[in-house]
Symmetry: C2
């Protein structure tokens, strides 16, 4: 497991969006979308809904990559390659999306929940971390 | 070839960074980094240097994905999947990085050129375009 250094952790703790790449189902072509992000005890956490492309892609092939730029300096960036080692569902994932809404929107409850939606945390183990200050 | 709609074109024309995913050499694992971007006649152009990871990766496997958020509204984003159909080197690529320096830095000459560096334009044909307003 690669260490997230202080700069990477700070970039993930701040209200930056990260861009996560996963591998598509037909032939492993890359896909990339922006998302909220959390960091916990050396793991990168991305909360999505069951059935979304990044959830299904990373279930089939757990290899992912993420990158973020510093909101105050876009020439400072973090790029992480890693692996989804666990998909966490249930109450922990529902609570976690509210935590993300608090972080990014200042709201106690995630306001965009769809009827029937089930949240899932992609728990990502970093395997390579590049930071450019 | 998928059409870039007006919103996607605007997002690529403005001074937004895009995040580009390519596939790594050992086993096709995804990699993602931020980069400057240009758009020309329906193609997405990314200028890098020969030998950089995204150049070597996309030469081996031309499938790429890109995403950008709107600088004024991070919940509005474009996600593009496509293919590098040409790598353009020589004077055209050297001139183009100066054009990018003008766009992003307001400078006539790209100020970060390294000794011996050769620039290359990755000319990307969009195959799938998703825009969320």
């Amino acid at each position: 497991m690669a260490q997230l250094n202080d700069i990477a952790i700070r970039m993930l703790q701040e209200k930056n969006f990260v861009f996560i790449a996963t591998l598509g189902k037909t032939s492993g072509a890359p896909q990339v979308t922006p998302t909220w992000v959390d960091v916990d005890n050396g793991y990168v956490l991305v909360n999505t809904a069951i059935g979304r492309m990044k959830q299904e892609n990373s279930k089939r092939d757990p290899r992912v990559a993420l990158s973020a730029v510093d909101s105050t300096n876009p020439y400072s960036f973090t790029a992480i390659r890693g692996r989804v080692v666990e998909q966490i569902t249930g109450q922990a994932a529902e609570d976690h999306i509210d935590k993300m809404a608090k972080k990014y929107l200042g709201k106690d409850k995630y306001p965009f929940r769809q009827p029937g939606e089930k949240r899932v945390i992609l728990k990502i183990k970093p395997e390579r971390v590049v930071v450019q200050e």
